[in-house]
C-alpha cells in the first residue's frame, strides 16, 4: 500500500525549497533579512522618507542635538551637523550611496571573478596558472591596503574607490568559481554535454555555472557587507566619497573635530554602518548554512 504522504516525501522536492525553509527557520538570518530590507527601502525611498534635503545647510541650526536632549527639537530628530544639515536625512541618503557602492563594486568583482574562475577551472593548463598567479598577487596585499593604494594613484573619488574595492574582491570570486568548476567538470553530465557536441560557452554558462551558484550567492552577500565597510573606511580616510556627498564614513571623518562638542554627529553614522554590515553578514551566514554545508567554518 502506498503511503498517503508519499507526495510529500522530502526526497521528491527540489532542494531549493528545503534550503528556503532552512533559511527561514534560522532566526538570525531572518533578522539579517529584516535589517537589509529596511536598508534597501530607505535607499530606494530616500526622497520620500527624509524630512530634509541632505545637502541643505541651515545657518541657525548648527549642531542641534537629537530630540531626546533637553535642547533637541522634532525638526531635526537626530540633530544636525556643523553646517546645520539634518543628520537623519543624510543617513537615509547615505544608505543610497552605500547600496549603490556595494552593488556596483561587488557586481564588477562578481563578473570578472566568475569569468576568470570559469576560464581557469574549465580550461586548466597555462591559462589557469597565469590567472591564479595573478590572483595570488592581488591576495598578497593585506585587505584594504591595495584599495587605498589604487585610489591614491587614481585620485580620491567615489567612482575610483568602487573600482579599487572591485579589484580587491575579484580573487575571492575567481577562487570559489574555479574550485566549483573543477569539481563539476569531473561529473558525468559535463561529459554528456561534450558528447552531444555542446560548445564550451554553453557547457560553462548553461550547464556548469548554475550548479556553482550556492557558494557564489554566499560570497556575494558577504561581499556586500565588506564592500560597505571598506567604502566607509576609504571615505573616512578621505579617499572615497567627497563632500558634500552624504556618505556614512565621510560623515564620521568630518565629525572627528566635533567629538567633544557634538558626539551625536559621530554616533549615528557609525551605527548605520554597523547595522547595514551586520545585516548582510547575518544573512550571509544563514545562506552559507542553508546552501553550502561545505563552507561552514
Amino acid at each position: 500500500m502506498k503511503n498517503k504522504k508519499s507526495h510529500k516525501n522530502p526526497e521528491d522536492r527540489h532542494p531549493f525549497f528545503d534550503q528556503i525553509s532552512q533559511l527561514w527557520r534560522n532566526k538570525t538570518a531572518v533578522l539579517g533579512l529584516v535589517i537589509i530590507t529596511v536598508f534597501i527601502l530607505s535607499a530606494i525611498l530616500a526622497p520620500y522618507l527624509s524630512p530634509h534635503d541632505p545637502l541643505e545647510t541651515a545657518l541657525y541650526d548648527q549642531l542641534k542635538p537629537p530630540v531626546w536632549h533637553a535642547t533637541g527639537t522634532w525638526k531635526n530628530i537626530l540633530g544636525t551637523d556643523d553646517l546645520g544639515r539634518d543628520i537623519l536625512s543624510r543617513l537615509i541618503y547615505g544608505a543610497r550611496v552605500s547600496l549603490v557602492v556595494a552593488v556596483i563594486s561587488v557586481g564588477l568583482a562578481f563578473l570578472c571573478g566568475t569569468l576568470l574562475g570559469c576560464i581557469s577551472g574549465y580550461y586548466k593548463g597555462f591559462r589557469e596558472s597565469i590567472i591564479m598567479r595573478c590572483m595570488d598577487i592581488i591576495l598578497a596585499f593585506p585587505y584594504i591596503l591595495l584599495a587605498i593604494v589604487v585610489v591614491a594613484y587614481l585620485g580620491p573619488s567615489l567612482q575610483n574607490a568602487m573600482i579599487a574595492i572591485a579589484i580587491t574582491y575579484v580573487p575571492r570570486f575567481a577562487r570559489i568559481v574555479r574550485g566549483s568548476v573543477l569539481e563539476e567538470c569531473e561529473k558525468d553530465y559535463v561529459s554528456a554535454a561534450r558528447a552531444i557536441g555542446a560548445r564550451d560557452f554553453r557547457i560553462i554558462f548553461i550547464a556548469i555555472l548554475p550548479n556553482c551558484l550556492g557558494p557564489l550567492i554566499v560570497q556575494t552577500t558577504l561581499g556586500f557587507a565588506s564592500a560597505i565597510l571598506d567604502m566607509a573606511a576609504l571615505s573616512f580616510l578621505g579617499l572615497g566619497a567627497q563632500p558634500p556627498t552624504p556618505e556614512w564614513g565621510a560623515m564620521i571623518a568630518k565629525s572627528r573635530a566635533l567629538i567633544l562638542r557634538a558626539s551625536w554627529v559621530m554616533t549615528f553614522p557609525g551605527l548605520a554602518i554597523l547595522f547595514a554590515v551586520l545585516g548582510f553578514n547575518l544573512l550571509g551566514d544563514g545562506l552559507r548554512d542553508a546552501l553550502d554545508p561545505r563552507l561552514r567554518d
Partner: protein, 334 residues
C-alpha cells in the same frame, strides 16, 4: 619537511616578483605623465625634467624596472619625493611601532577569542553561546575607525582614564634599544615608562583586535564543537576525568590546529587594519606613515611602503603554512 619549506619558498618568488611588478607599474598605468603625477600639476617644466632625470623616468620601462629591482635586492627602498630621504630609515623607525601594536592586538584577540569560543562550544545553544556568537558577528561587522573614536570619546575624553593618542607621554624618558617600547622598558627596568607605554597601547590595540577576536571566537567554537563530538572525548569523559581536563587537555589540543591557522592569518589582517587604527590614534607606525604619504601624494613612499607591507604579509602567510604543517601531523606534506 625541509623539502616542503624550500618548495614553499620557491613558490613565493613568482608572487613576490609579481607584487614588485604591480607596485612598479602602478605609477605608469595611471593615466597621465608619471613625472607630473609625482610632482603635482603645478610643477614647472624644469622640476619635471629634473625628477625625470633623477628617477630615470625617461629610460625604457624594462630598464627602469631592472634598476628598481636591483635597488630592492640591495635593500634600498628608494627616497621620499619631497625630502629625498632614504625610505628605509623611516621604515626601520616606524615598523617596530606597528609590530608592537599588532602583537598586543593579536595577543588580546587570541586570549579573548579563544575563551569566548571554548565557553560557547561547551555550552552550545545556551544564552551565553547565542550572545557571544551574536557579539562575534557584531565584531566582524564593526567599522573599527568608528569604534576607535567611540573608545576615545568614552575612555580618554569623558572618563580621562587613558591617553588620547601617541606611544608615550611627552617627557617620559625611555632608552630605545629595539624600538618596541614595552620590551625596551622591561629590558632597562624602567617601570614608569612601561606603565606609560601600556597605558598608551590599550585603546589602539583593543580597537585593532575587534575583528580578529570575533573571527578567532567563531573559529574556536566550531573547531571545538567538531572535536567534542568525537569518540575519544566520550572515552575521556567515561573514564571519569573532570570537565576541565577533558576540555583543556584532550579537546583543545586538537581544536587548536585550525585555530592556529586562523590566528596566523589574522596577523596580516592586522597589518592592513593598522592603517585605520594608527591614523585615529596618531600611532607612529607604518600605517600612519602610509596614510600621510597618501595625503601628501608621495608616490615613492607609497610604492616602497606597499611593497614592504605586502612582503611582510606574504612571509607571515608562509610561516603560518609551515607552522600548520608542523603542528598537524595528519596532513601529508606533498
Amino acid at each position: 619537511m625541509l623539502a616542503y619549506i624550500i618548495r614553499r619558498i620557491f613558490v613565493l618568488i613568482p608572487t613576490l616578483l609579481g607584487v614588485s611588478i604591480l607596485v612598479f607599474l602602478m605609477l605608469h598605468l595611471t593615466p597621465g605623465d608619471p613625472a607630473e603625477l609625482l610632482m603635482g600639476e603645478r610643477a614647472s617644466e624644469e622640476a619635471l625634467q629634473e625628477i625625470r632625470e633623477h628617477l630615470g623616468l625617461n629610460k625604457p620601462l624594462y630598464e627602469q624596472y631592472g634598476l628598481f629591482l636591483k635597488q630592492l635586492m640591495q635593500g634600498d627602498l628608494g627616497e621620499t619625493i619631497w625630502t629625498r630621504q632614504k625610505v628605509w630609515i623611516e621604515v626601520k623607525q616606524r615598523f617596530p611601532a606597528t609590530i608592537e601594536l599588532s602583537i598586543v592586538a593579536l595577543f588580546i584577540s587570541c586570549f579573548a577569542g579563544m575563551i569566548l569560543g571554548i565557553i560557547s562550544a561547551t555550552k552550545q545553544y545556551s544564552i551565553f553561546d547565542y550572545l557571544s556568537m551574536l557579539g562575534a558577528l557584531v565584531g566582524v561587522s564593526m567599522p573599527i575607525f568608528w569604534l576607535g573614536l567611540v573608545f576615545m570619546l568614552i575612555f580618554a575624553l569623558n572618563l580621562g582614564w587613558l591617553p588620547m593618542s601617541g606611544r608615550l607621554t611627552v617627557g617620559v624618558e625611555l632608552e630605545t634599544i629595539t624600538n618596541l617600547y614595552i620590551l625596551d622598558a622591561i629590558i632597562t627596568r624602567n617601570w614608569a615608562a612601561l606603565r606609560d607605554a601600556l597605558w598608551h597601547i590599550i585603546m589602539p590595540a583593543v580597537t585593532l583586535s575587534t575583528i580578529p577576536t570575533a573571527i578567532v571566537a567563531r573559529m574556536t567554537r566550531s573547531a571545538m564543537l567538531e572535536v567534542l563530538r568525537q569518540d575519544y572525548i566520550k572515552t575521556a569523559k567515561a573514564k571519569g576525568l573532570s570537565q576541565f581536563i577533558v576540555i583543556f587537555k584532550h579537546a583543545l589540543r586538537n581544536a587548536l590546529i585550525p585555530v592556529v591557522t586562523t590566528i596566523g592569518l589574522q596577523f596580516g589582517v592586522l597589518l592592513g587594519g593598522a592603517i585605520l587604527t594608527e591614523t585615529i590614534f596618531a600611532w607612529p607606525g607604518v600605517g600612519k606613515w602610509m596614510y600621510d604619504a597618501v595625503m601628501q601624494r608621495d608616490y615613492m613612499v607609497i610604492r616602497s611602503g606597499t611593497l614592504f607591507i605586502a612582503t611582510i604579509f606574504v612571509l607571515i602567510n608562509l610561516c603560518v603554512d609551515v607552522l600548520y604543517a608542523v603542528i598537524n601531523p595528519r596532513i601529508s606534506v606533498k
